[in-house]
Symmetry: D3
Amino acid sequence: MIVTARLTFSAAHRLNNPNRDAEWNRRTYDKCDNPAGHGHNYVITVSVRGKIDPETGMVIDLKVLKDIVRTRVIDRVDHRNLNEDVDFLRGVIPTAENLARSFWQELAPAIEQGSLHEVALQETEKNSVVYRGEDEA
Amino acid sequence: MIVTARLTFSAAHRLNNPNRDAEWNRRTYDKCDNPAGHGHNYVITVSVRGKIDPETGMVIDLKVLKDIVRTRVIDRVDHRNLNEDVDFLRGVIPTAENLARSFWQELAPAIEQGSLHEVALQETEKNSVVYRGEDEA
Amino acid sequence: MIVTARLTFSAAHRLNNPNRDAEWNRRTYDKCDNPAGHGHNYVITVSVRGKIDPETGMVIDLKVLKDIVRTRVIDRVDHRNLNEDVDFLRGVIPTAENLARSFWQELAPAIEQGSLHEVALQETEKNSVVYRGEDEA
Amino acid sequence: MIVTARLTFSAAHRLNNPNRDAEWNRRTYDKCDNPAGHGHNYVITVSVRGKIDPETGMVIDLKVLKDIVRTRVIDRVDHRNLNEDVDFLRGVIPTAENLARSFWQELAPAIEQGSLHEVALQETEKNSVVYRGEDEA
Amino acid sequence: MIVTARLTFSAAHRLNNPNRDAEWNRRTYDKCDNPAGHGHNYVITVSVRGKIDPETGMVIDLKVLKDIVRTRVIDRVDHRNLNEDVDFLRGVIPTAENLARSFWQELAPAIEQGSLHEVALQETEKNSVVYRGEDEA
Amino acid sequence: MIVTARLTFSAAHRLNNPNRDAEWNRRTYDKCDNPAGHGHNYVITVSVRGKIDPETGMVIDLKVLKDIVRTRVIDRVDHRNLNEDVDFLRGVIPTAENLARSFWQELAPAIEQGSLHEVALQETEKNSVVYRGEDEA
């Protein structure tokens, strides 16, 4: 059984690899490399897999799950600049892929009922990623 | 190949475990334990997995699948109180997790082309569950 | 200029006019008259019309508007039974139309920047109403 | 008859009135005043009102309308910082209200079939504004 | 008070004015003039304006309204070719504008509680029209 | 890590197996067998699975992925009749299942970073399919 919570946050970011030159960055990231940044309304969905507790009928209380996501992720990234303001994103190019993996790392240790199954991140109506901890073993 | 039908229903429910005291229920379910109940527009998506029949080009006729979901689930829960009005939910705490598993049990035997792959239930824009029959073997 | 805030709540209700007999109620409300009730995820959108304050660039701070809607409406109806639990709905048949008008009456006096323009209430994906205070003069 | 085109763009912004002190800005804009900015996926819907041309069956060709919106607005704000990168927003606090009015001013002169009826701007799922040129006479 | 019902249908169409030559049609309708047609999932929302009946709490029973829309419009256009299969669209270029006006003409006489306020037709996520009977007086 | 691009197209189609008689087709496809066709706004979501390139922070550039989907699929099916106008669908009954499999076959060889993970196709709000290349080994 998988339970999923959906939350949103709004943030600015710029895609740029400081170890490569301007020409490489422009070619790789195009308008996402705009020096003054741009931004998104991100949708994050966090899924926990586990057995139904017969006493509560729940895998994990979704209020508890949402509180974890809010404390560990939303409160630290919402209305922030992902390149400059977020401690756990220092040195991370804030692509959707890297964000999903970083969010997974923040969330996984905090889930105490069931286990983290998936972090999905929608950057726009057209672009999204799904991460299931594949390289975390 | 997986084919999915999306249907909706509206129902009232209250989360309460009658074997536990009021204090436990309030702490566990908070406002979901309101004695006079509350309600939701549920979205149920039912997925069937199978091979494409080369003659029809379909795994299962989605009209047939939707008729099964309507007869076995929607007609029995729509505009009902899930704690009081539904025979197959007697004694079940109507959390999204328990509902999804109960719906699975109603639906699985009725699928004759392909096999039931997943029952997903969205309770609100923010809360949803997915069940794939994990404990049914 | 019109600014709009969107909020949601989940509630149970039953459509029934106690001054009419069972046959009339069944004919009029059909399955919405289920004695044990049913429920919905309501979407309420509240619009305020006014001029842009040149100093803030806002008609009304949407955080302020949402706090008003939360205090005056959401906190009193969310996870409640609209027939039994809500003081300002005593004696009101909780159709979407009546709810929108009642919400308007709760909200209009509290808007201090601009004036209440519209209360829209979506009961399901298929059913919604819009109220602009037409009979309130 | 009103025809409406829906387009999207992603941008960073910061709400801050440089004529007021830090304390006023923090109190007024709260987390929207984050110095390094934040951002949104904006949804802009542009409506034109006019008569149906009997020869084409259209008020205005929606391809033409969308090209106007793209050239006059989207290409200048998408993947930009609204405080720093956009000529027609110099000196404008980029609230949704001010953006909608500025977009109206860019768009209105370019509509040659029918006339601009409404610019709606959705900043998040919860916040939106509608502008109909009220103070432009 | 305005009440609104949302329904959907799926249809094929081709935009082509038979009184004009191929070159004009290609220039005017571009790929919408594809000879073998294309199609859409249309969303039709029908709004009725009226007073709340104090006995029922409703302007018009939404079940009644939806039955009218189904009988007068949906059943005649759903899974049809709008150029060839629909009697009341003979000789009409099936643009969204013309469809909305034709649907209005089919619906307005059938509304007996309140009066038809608006027919909105969404052709795609990006294109929609609204008609309020402007030229019908 | 899975990255997903969402695109849309509008097309006409008719479900009909020319090797079976009219009675079989009517019984099997019902109103989907309308001789003059009907149509849909299809939503196609294409997912690629792979490792994050540490230099770019991306599995595959979503602009590149969308260009592939546009060139290989959208440009050939958008505003077309799927029974008559599309070379790679010759002889294919254009059910959602067959379309998803055909789109997979067009797309899989073109993905050079990561590998094609899933093609999902939504035909209406209620009907969708998911294909993961199951029978392609």
